[in-house]
């Protein structure tokens, strides 16, 4: 496709027609703040944080929704732009209950970061007095509408990223709110608890219930791994504090899931911490399990294998390896059966 050119902060840059101004900025390392923008979905231009000045345009434009045009002259940090963005942050802060002290998103909040970045020290506007009760009657997601800035990322995430179509905008004007069908709580709605809305929420309006009080974002380590459930192999971050997984999020920009997870992957991690986990080898004595050392248990298993092999040959031993464990474990298991025991009696539950 033909390349076109525009002037970005005084520098000539080329772009592909069809790109938005925001995309051209990102491609050229020019940082433009966004709140409502969600990659891969239709731009809504709702939050007005990504405003830039385009020479000759009647007003400042939302760069996420405006196509780049040949010959445009764009300023991303002009005084006009900075004043507008700061005003915007103030209006958003006035729109709801944005108290960082008690907020689960503290330290991981885009609004908080923007307020800091644009030097908002006080809010000149009267604060909205509309408080909604927090909704937490489902096991996974806490909805706090008083912290919602109506950016609509959750709506885009639900409808365009996961295509579960459980939420949308409801009501009008100052009554506007994110709603399920019939404005029911999530638990009584079409929501399937994939949690994509939580991952998309830039503030503390949607948070993971299980993670509440388990640690601030700066206290956790993030470790990248692969989901243990189905065969899609979603890439995920395990958020860890004090030897506990406290939260799971999807890895953005990585195949195969590009940030998406399902209810099991995102919220089904705590079996790892179950008190029912096996913690010691067990040997059954007269119908009852007794705790044993590794040496006792492994010596017994080896002795039984050797005895069976001696009596009836190696094919009197069989093993089931597992579709649940790693390649390395599977490889060693079949090698153990084939050379350690001497049989090809090895299979697993691929068929089940």
């Amino acid at each position: 496709m033909a390349k076109a050119e525009l002037t970005l902060n005084g520098k000539k840059v080329s772009f592909t027609p069809g790109q938005t101004i925001l995309e051209v900025c990102q491609q050229n390392g020019v940082e433009v703040p966004t709140l409502c923008h969600l990659a891969g979905t239709t731009p809504t231009g709702a939050c007005r944080m990504c405003l830039v000045e385009v020479k000759g345009a009647r007003t400042l434009v939302a760069s996420c929704a405006m196509p780049a045009g040949d010959g445009q002259v764009i300023e991303t940090e002009s005084e006009k732009v900075l004043i507008a963005r700061k005003l915007n942050v103030e209006l958003l802060l006035a729109s709801g209950h944005h108290n960082c002290l008690t907020c689960e998103a503290n330290g991981d909040c885009k609004l908080q970061a923007l307020a800091y970045q644009y030097g908002v020290e006080s809010v000149r506007f009267e604060k909205s007095d509309r408080y909604y009760p927090t909704e937490d009657d489902n096991p996974f997601i806490v909805r706090d509408f008083s912290r919602c800035i109506l950016c609509g990322r959750c709506v885009q995430a639900c409808n365009e990223v996961q295509v579960n179509r459980a939420i949308g905008f409801g009501y009008r004007g100052t009554e506007a709110k994110i709603v399920t069908a019939g404005d029911q709580p999530y638990i009584n709605s079409d929501c399937v608890f994939c949690g994509e809305c939580v991952q998309a929420c830039p503030v503390g309006a949607l948070t993971e219930k299980k993670a509440r009080g388990k640690g601030r974002s700066w206290e956790t380590r993030k470790i990248r791994t692969t989901c243990p459930y189905c065969g899609v192999g979603c890439q995920m971050w395990l958020h860890v504090k004090d030897n506990q997984v406290v939260k799971v999020t999807g890895v953005e920009d990585a195949a195969p899931n590009y940030g998406r997870l399902c209810v099991k992957g995102r919220f089904g991690y705590d079996f790892v911490q179950s008190p029912e986990r096996l913690t010691t080898p067990l040997i059954k004595v007269r119908g009852k399990f007794k705790q044993a050392t590794w040496d006792e248990a492994l010596d017994l298993v080896a002795a039984k294998i050797k005895a069976a092999r001696k009596e009836k040959g190696a094919n009197a031993v069989a093993g089931l390896t597992s579709a649940r464990v790693t390649n390395e474990d599977n490889y060693l298991f079949q090698k153990l059966m084939r050379v350690g025991v001497g049989t090809n009696n090895v299979d697993h539950c691929a068929r089940l």
Binding site: F193, G319, T343, D347
Partner: protein, 528 residues
């Protein structure tokens, strides 16, 4: 999958058959729904149940359970009768076309409609839509394979794709969606009775010699081993005396559980290695505690053949240890001089033994988004799309497939067809999801899907307990009266040990793959 997940967003026509995608592979479900709602793709769903994907389908074919082969033959018949095939692809890339053509000629839309219950016009429309697409991709899962003719079903899907030339290009292909995190890897690694790592055959002397040399042995056992279902018979008859089970729970997952229970109880010495005292572990003579997924390093291979890292995030509880460590300790006691110190060291050996993994290393996996096999050299970028230039065997082979009735068909005593599967909120035998807070709140118990007309005639109300009985056993579970299922069909998830659907299922196997017919058996219902 012959192709990759990401490219499917741009697929023009998707054909899902035997996969409840949005519940069992939710993120692939999202990808396909995005293709429809954001990119204008079209979706065909063939499923006996009105599963979630039906909402976005242009055509829904609600066929009778166990008639997949006939349905696909019907589509092939229409494509060939109307001249919609990709003759160039057939001529240059395939063989045995005429034999297949001869068989499907007998499967006219009217005849297939009689077998499957799908209106002839829908069969014609589906065939035309799929064949007419620039990019057409087929997705299937256990709904295709868990039948006594499962292998035939898969071959017939390959016939359909090859007739239209929907293979070897982006957003096409025949794409099995694999149900477990590392079922692909377990197969790749030789966790099969007839296959060494990389599907090198046990029966092939050269392959045995090659692998034996790397393992420092003169020979390897040549006799093909037992499959899981055959092991259960062999333990029952005392031919197998020691059974070592790692990370599996056949006491919930296998067909005809009464038989499984009898076999495991009769096993002279049963070793189970797991993270929980599962229903199977409870029967063991020795239980070995494993580290769970978040407590270990290693790799999984996903359904698109992508090898990806898993990483240790937390410590295992008590004395639980990684499986590779446990196996290594056991090998030492069986006089093996194994000296593995880390999963990385094991992976380096895997790359030596397994040709399709030869170019993969931890260092490369650290850098990118995994690598898709075949990846034969350390510079090879991996293979997102299989069969682009040619098939593994050279030419694609058309296998003619005839319709075959399931092992059990309804009669007066057992008038309903039971089909089984999973639901969104649980996973396999629930040993993990049953212990994850919240999932049980959303799906606390087993629900039997019953059509409203059947419920009426049996005087069963929604939410009442119902007794479901087959020739092999009976369970009691809650009725969910819903038109998700057709009249005469009931569905049960197999997750719940306390209402185990596999007490009912039949042990009849596909003769080639030895896969049980979980998707069809017959039952009777009554109010409990």
């Amino acid at each position: 999958m012959t192709n990759s997940i990401g490219e499917m967003e741009d697929c023009e026509v998707m054909f899902i058959i035997g996969s409840n995608t949005n519940e069992n592979h939710p993120v692939i479900g999202s990808t396909l729904r995005r293709a429809v709602t954001q990119k204008g793709g079209k979706l065909i769903v063939a499923d006996p149940r009105r599963i979630g994907m039906v909402r976005d389908a242009t055509i829904w074919l609600q066929h009778r359970p166990g008639t997949d082969a006939a349905l696909i033959n019907g589509m092939l018949n229409v494509i060939l009768a109307q001249g919609l095939q990709n003759q160039e692809f057939i001529d240059s890339r395939t063989e045995n076309f005429e034999a297949m053509k001869k068989v499907v000629a007998g499967y006219t839309p009217d005849k297939v409609s009689e077998i499957t219950g799908v209106p002839a016009k829908d069969i014609i429309a589906a065939a035309r839509l799929y064949a007419g697409a620039k990019t057409g991709a087929i997705f299937y899962a256990m709904g295709i394979t868990q039948h006594t003719n499962g292998t035939d079903n898969v071959k017939n899907l390959a016939n359909l794709a090859m007739v239209c030339g929907h293979v070897g290009r982006p957003a096409t292909g025949v794409n099995p969606l694999r149900g477990q995190n590392n079922v692909q890897g377990a197969c790749d690694m030789g966790g099969l009775p007839g296959d060494l790592p990389g599907y090198q055959k046990v029966a092939d002397l050269q392959a045995r010699k090659k692998v034996a040399a790397i393992w420092g042995r003169k020979t390897l056992p040549a006799k093909v081993g037992l499959t899981v279902t055959e092991m259960m018979d062999a333990t029952e008859h005392g031919e197998v005396k020691v059974l070592y089970i790692m990370g599996e729970n056949p006491m919930v997952s296998d067909p005809n559980l009464r038989h499984v229970e009898k076999s495991l109880k009769k096993t002279e010495f049963l070793v189970v290695q797991d993270i929980f005292l599962t229903e199977t572990a409870a029967l063991a003579d020795v239980v070995l505690p494993s580290a769970a997924w978040a407590e270990r390093d290693g790799t999984f291979t996903n359904t698109e053949r992508r090898v990806q890292r898993i990483r240790k995030a937390v410590d295992a509880p008590g004395q639980a240890r990684e499986d590779w460590w446990i196996i290594t300790q056991l090998a030492k006691r069986l006089n093996q001089k194994w000296d593995y110190k880390s999963p990385k060291q094991v992976f380096d050996e895997i790359a030596k033994v397994t040709p399709s993994y030869a170019g993969i290393s931890y260092a490369r996996l650290e850098r990118g988004n995994g690598l898709q096999w075949p990846c034969p050299t350390s510079r090879h970028p991996g293979t997102p799309i299989l069969h682009a230039a040619g098939f593994a065997r050279g030419k694609g082979f058309f296998t003619p497939v005839e319709h075959q009735e399931p092992a059990e068909t309804p009669n007066k005593a057992y008038p309903f067809t039971l089909t089984t599967g999973r639901i969104l909120y649980h996973y396999h035998t629930r040993s993990m999801t049953g212990r994850a807070e919240g999932l049980n709140q959303l799906a606390p118990e087993c629900e039997v899907e019953i059509n409203p007309a059947d419920a009426r005639s049996l005087r069963i109300k929604d939410g009442q307990m119902v007794k479901v009985a087959s020739r092999r056993g009976a369970v009691t579970a809650k009725a969910w009266v819903t038109d998700r299922v057709a009249k005469g069909v009931v569905f049960m998830p197999f997750h719940f040990a306390e209402a185990a659907a596999n007490r009912l299922t039949i042990g009849a196997l596909d003769p080639v793959a030895k896969i049980p017919e979980f998707k069809v058996c017959t039952v009777k219902l009554q109010k409990a």
